[in-house]
Symmetry: C4
């Protein structure tokens, strides 16, 4: 196992693709939105990235295990004008700060290899309150992108998000800019307490307006509900017995 191992499953023909990143985060808004894109537009799995920066973990579904990884799907959208996306999803971020830098750098390498020159990091921003109207907050690496997104109703506020943007999404912008990638982060407001399909819808609405495609939301609420159930089970598990010996937290 190297620091990174990539497994390629397909060699898609992508025309000026746009990187869409949706890893786990506040309200799982970004992950939910990105996975919904893959499902709705029948995305094709093109590659998985394994890394020692992910948690040392396999997920289990119906008994089959999958090593922690990030997945790239190719998504072709036949909207008013055809749009190609390279959608990055997964169940994990990196385990520490330097790991985030190395991981995001490698993810951007891959996106570049597929020809991406623009990137949108999808995420949520916590308000701590129930949301009535789902605003989408923005941040970008260029003034042109800010202007374009402002025209679509994305809000840019003087000092928000106050703590900046942390993790892979933040670095898609921060490292992306240093590579010459035009990148923006679209953050749906969300209470922060639950997997939030309405916030994901607000984010996808902006993306659809920008890239001229329509996406149905019929299955989005169901997807959020399933995700919520899995998270609830994981939390239940985690709040179960916790023996004092550190090693004991491993199912090993």
């Amino acid at each position: 196992m190297n620091e990174f191992d990539i497994e390629e499953y397909a060699d898609p023909d992508l025309d000026d693709p746009i990187l869409i990143e949706g890893l786990p985060g506040v309200g799982h808004v970004g992950k939910l939105a990105a996975e919904h894109l893959v499902e709705e537009f029948d995305g094709e799995l093109v590659a998985r990235l394994y890394s020692t920066h992910f948690p040392p973990q396999v997920s289990v579904e119906n008994g089959r295990t999958t090593l922690a990884s990030a997945a790239f799907h190719a998504v072709h959208i036949d909207g008013e004008e055809p749009t190609d996306l390279l959608v990055l999803t997964g169940d994990h971020q990196a385990g520490d700060g330097p790991g985030h830098y190395h991981l995001t750098d490698r993810l951007l390498d891959i996106a570049e290899e597929y020809g991406c020159e623009r990137a949108f990091a999808l995420g949520g921003v916590p308000t701590g309150e129930l949301i009535e109207e789902y605003s989408v907050l923005g941040a970008a690496t260029t003034d042109a992108l800010i202007e374009e997104l402002e025209g679509l109703g994305v809000e840019f506020r003087e000092d928000e998000p106050a703590g900046g943007i942390v993790g892979v999404s933040g670095l898609v912008l921060g490292l992306g800019e240093r590579r010459g990638l035009d990148a923006a982060c679209l953050m749906g407001e969300t209470s922060g307490y639950l997997v939030d399909p309405k916030s994901a819808q607000a984010v996808l609405d902006v993306l659809g307006d920008l890239l001229a495609f329509d996406v149905g939301y019929g299955s989005l609420a169901d997807r959020a509900e399933e995700m919520e159930e899995v998270i609830a089970k994981m939390q239940e598990m985690e709040q179960g017995p916790t023996p004092s010996d550190d090693d004991l937290r491993y199912i090993g």
Copy 2:
């Protein structure tokens, strides 16, 4: 001291050996089961792996110190058909995420050198409740293994364990699969509060059925009791005085 130092004690003649992993974890089920195999079948110590990924620690028994390590024992079982096992035991997992990857990778290197093409990671899965009937939960890298184990009563559930499998056991499957190793994890249900010999017995029953051997359990409860005592002492120790200076936690 390199990242890994291996010390070899014997050069056993192993015929198509199967790797059995039992490091510390929930209820110490895996460790208890693996150590029991070594004891009952007079396993021979063949190698120890030292690593900077283990805690910086020696254990002490009757005054003699042993540096943190993982041990490989060769176990020959004369059952209906002879079976050779390479049993991996120890007192520690790695100290952080990347360490788990590097450590498991090295452990699998060694298992490969001894000719292992199949692996069983033994462990426990916490239920948080007292157990009446000890089910064994499974996870595997191939559908064929799932089918074989299902036939022996191992349960495979849609979303369990919900949090996946973490630590060396998880990576024996996750990294093992990427090397072409057929691997399964057998997880005995356990409350999670105590060293659980009954859960270990349930796991060993499955393994014995699968590999066609019988193992006596006479000494298993005693072994669990001893392990419980040591853990209790360690906890007592750890819950003793804790001066505020970080350095003070070292017995140094």
Copy 3:
């Protein structure tokens, strides 16, 4: 992204410049003082250092993102005798111990390249009580510097600060000394609870006396207030919803 990436914006003509370090710390005294110097004397941004040792984060201002970095500004002061400063500011320290060593080492490399042979690390020392008279506590790498600063009213106490000096400021002295750099740390007493402009003023008074320059403090209180507001927002944010899954803390 390498461990360090430097971006240079200007090639200033500096005459025997003095390194002034003011990264975040107790009461943000050092950061406030250093940023005030840059503002009051129209400092010129000469370089930014990016590093995997900084948090994986972009800050956002009016929607534009900036990758975590440390900034060097050239400051020319036409006092009784002209003085050149190389002022180091930023929003972050390193994420762990070895990172602090590597980061400070690289920062001192850069300071050396610009010709710095002396350094002052600015900071605060917490008293836990409201301050009436703002003393400045000192520490230095040479007896000559201690004597010089004592003459200006800086206090050197037998065992203070009791915990030593931690982080970049401490290493500017510790690593600086090993490179032959004359270095001192000026620590303004501060309650530790708030961004403290009066403590920053006390530190700058000493520095102005030493280097023979005058600095106006008109805008210092405003700057402290702004900083306070940003920090308050960040804390509010951080004290918002905190889902139990570790990954969720990422706005991602």
Copy 4:
């Protein structure tokens, strides 16, 4: 700054020297005992080891800063038969597990360069209760050493210390054994709540019996008291204001 930088101050003529390690730990027993040896027998500072594995910190005494380091002193004892010691002291252990391995390995390299073939790690073992009779608990890498120390009243117990020996002391034995060094750990029982000069005296009594020297204890209580005061101040400091931003804990 490399991972390790060594600064040598003297080239002592040591005859078959014995390494004595006394870094911070439970009750500061080991550190107190080792520093007492250096003071009582006029030890000569021969080398300091700096390392990125130490905390990023300078200590301050009367305004002069010292970078975190470990110190080696040569100690000549003219007892019944002359004994040479190489005494290792310092204010810190390493910051993480792998750091402990690398640090101890380098410390043992240095000890070997000075010709040490035996080592005694001094420390305390917490009982959590006030001690009336100060027993010394032992652990060693060879049966011969155990026997020798048992003859001097050192106690070797079946399962103690239950948690093993952690940190540099543990690795002086664990890594030392792998290098062919004969090593023992002498652990004075101590409540664990205070710097404990009586426990240090018990440890030194054993060492003096073993190596045939006498050491006066007149100043030991004073030394413990001073150490206690410094630690109390550090704790006071640490329990002072703790702003929520992580960076703020740095005096920077």
